[in-house]
């Protein structure tokens, strides 16, 4: 296992980039996805339409296409951002659409009676979303959101294709010298698996704690 000991420094740094991308994009995707869902279920047609269009756009265009467009087409339109932030923004926008769908499934678990009751009590739209609907929807959607977060973590690997030095790209670099693809990519795969397990277990824990027993 000499080859991993010799390059532990760069590998850890690259793993750090992967984790950082997953965490920042993950938090941003959850926040943005919640907002999109709120718009999606609001009584305002324009908001609903925009939220629907957003989700459809990002669910129907492959992430790699979005990354390549953001990295190579936006500069031609006069917008040149550094690579890692570009990739994080694209990841967050993309996964937010999936988060929004997960939360929307949670919204469906909130009883219509409760929403009608909150309206009867004179809650404004924002109040009834903030106090009644969203908290319950989020609690019901913990596991699906966890799955989206796992997918997001795996998807950070695509950033290697547009020049971000994360785990996959560092594994490529190591393999270029050592010429042992099966060993190196197996280890990289196991690291991704460990990350996914951590997220999955955490989601399970959180769900146990917050689940609404019905």
């Amino acid at each position: 296992m000499n080859i991993f000991a010799d390059s532990a420094g760069p590998l850890l740094e690259a793993l750090g980039t992967t984790v950082m991308m997953a965490v920042i994009a993950g938090v941003a995707a959850i926040v943005l996805g919640t907002v999109v869902t709120a718009a999606r279920i609001s009584p305002i047609p324009v908001l609903r339409g925009l939220a629907f269009a957003y989700v459809q756009f990002f669910v129907n265009v492959p992430l790699l296409v979005l990354l390549i467009l953001a990295v190579f087409a936006l500069p031609d339109a006069g917008l040149l951002l550094p690579l890692t932030p570009t990739a994080i923004i694209v990841l967050a926008l993309y996964e937010a659409a999936y988060v929004a769908e997960a939360i929307r499934s949670g919204v469906n678990t909130v009883g219509t009676g409760q929403i009608e009751a909150s309206r009867a009590l004179g809650f404004t739209l924002v109040q009834s979303l903030r106090l009644v609907v969203v908290p319950q929807a989020l609690r019901a959607a913990v596991q699906p959101i966890g799955n989206v977060m796992i997918a997001l973590t795996m998807n950070t690997a695509l950033a290697a294709a547009v020049g971000v030095v994360e785990l996959t790209s560092e594994a490529n670099k190591l393999n270029l010298v050592e010429a042992q693809p099966i060993l190196i990519f197996t280890v990289a795969g196991l690291i991704y698996m460990a990350l996914a397990l951590v997220i999955g277990l955490a989601a399970g824990r959180i769900e146990k704690r917050v689940a609404i027993k019905r």
Binding site: F57, P75, Q180
Partner: protein
């Protein structure tokens, strides 16, 4: 309002596609070598090489030892080669006839197929360059023709026939750049490299303070250079020369600063196949076919006379 919803549901994916397509086209139109993989014209090589193919050497039946790899290839009727589809002048799919793959590596692979089979019957497996060793080890391909630099570490995993070509890494910059004259000026600069090329390790060796940005394909790297994602692009001299020939926005500065010896990758431990291929290389170098292929491909982009092929077995690992 269910009807509005229905209309939206039908309309939005269409809108999404239109927007994406529009973006993609606007990205392409500004530059001839846009992402991904636009092609400089290179279909002239087929005609120039027609006579080479017609008169190519074919191995004596006695050279195809019983039970050897070459005998198996002969029995199968085709040579399975790992080679790129997007490397201009080396191995590139012809955009107007996709069955044709042309370039120095591709044409040599066809000549090798003729040597074994009597006809240029090649099946191409495009290698992600990170999987070349695996493709050889598990027997997916017979040979790798992929500007595969011979190194001693790689030699532990696979065998190399050759070297069949010598080149080196050089530096390209935007045409209007005047402060970078070569590798010595890259300290502290942002340097673009191809993700799986020797430049990934060679640039930090020469310029430890340079910041490396790597892209998967050569067209992407060229696009990144012209868009200002880096100050320079380090890549094999021949590839850069062909990029610069087809794209006036970039130029090659200075001379190659490394020596890369390219070999034909073979499964580890197949000594008979290796010496068979080395025999073939010796023959095509002696009869001038090697030089004709070079002239028709790489030679068309480089302003120097036809080089002498490197001596076979001259590099550690070969």
């Amino acid at each position: 309002m269910p009807s509005t919803r229905k209309t939206l549901q039908r309309g939005i994916p269409l809108l999404a596609i239109t927007v994406t397509a529009a973006l993609a086209f606007s990205g392409c139109s500004s530059d001839s070598s846009a992402v991904p993989g636009a092609a400089p014209s290179s279909s002239a090589s087929t005609d120039a090489l027609a006579s080479v193919y017609d008169n190519a050497v074919v191995a004596d039946a006695a050279a195809l030892l019983p039970d050897s790899t070459m005998a198996k290839i002969k029995a199968r009727g085709k040579l399975v080669v790992a080679e790129a589809l997007d490397a201009p002048l080396l191995s590139q799919q012809n955009p107007s006839s996709p069955d044709d793959v042309e370039g120095f590596d591709a044409d040599l692979a066809k000549l090798l197929a003729i040597y074994i089979l009597g006809e240029p019957n090649v099946e191409i497996i495009p290698p992600a360059s990170e999987t070349r060793e695996a493709l050889l080890q598990n027997g997916t391909v017979d040979v790798v023709f992929n500007t595969y630099t011979i190194t001693t570490q790689r030699d532990e995993q696979v065998d190399f026939a050759g070297p069949y070509l010598q080149s080196g890494l050089a530096v390209a910059v935007k045409s209007d750049n005047t402060d970078i004259q070569g590798i010595d000026d890259l300290g502290g600069k942002k340097v673009i490299v191809g993700a799986n090329t020797p430049a990934v390790t060679a640039v930090p060796e020469k310029q430890p303070t340079a910041e490396i940005v790597s892209f998967g394909t050569d067209p992407e790297a060229v696009q990144a250079l012209t868009q200002g994602r880096g100050d320079a692009y380090v890549q094999d001299f021949t590839l850069l020369a062909s990029d610069a020939a087809s794209n006036s926005a970039i130029k090659v500065v200075g001379q190659p600063f490394t020596t890369e010896s390219y070999g034909i990758g073979l499964k580890d431990g197949d000594a008979a196949f290796k010496s068979f291929i080395n025999d073939w290389l010796t023959k095509i170098e002696a009869n001038g076919d090697w030089a004709k292929v070079w002239d028709a491909t790489l030679g068309s982009a480089v302003e120097s006379s036809t080089p002498t092929p490197p001596a076979i077995g001259s590099v550690p690992g070969s």
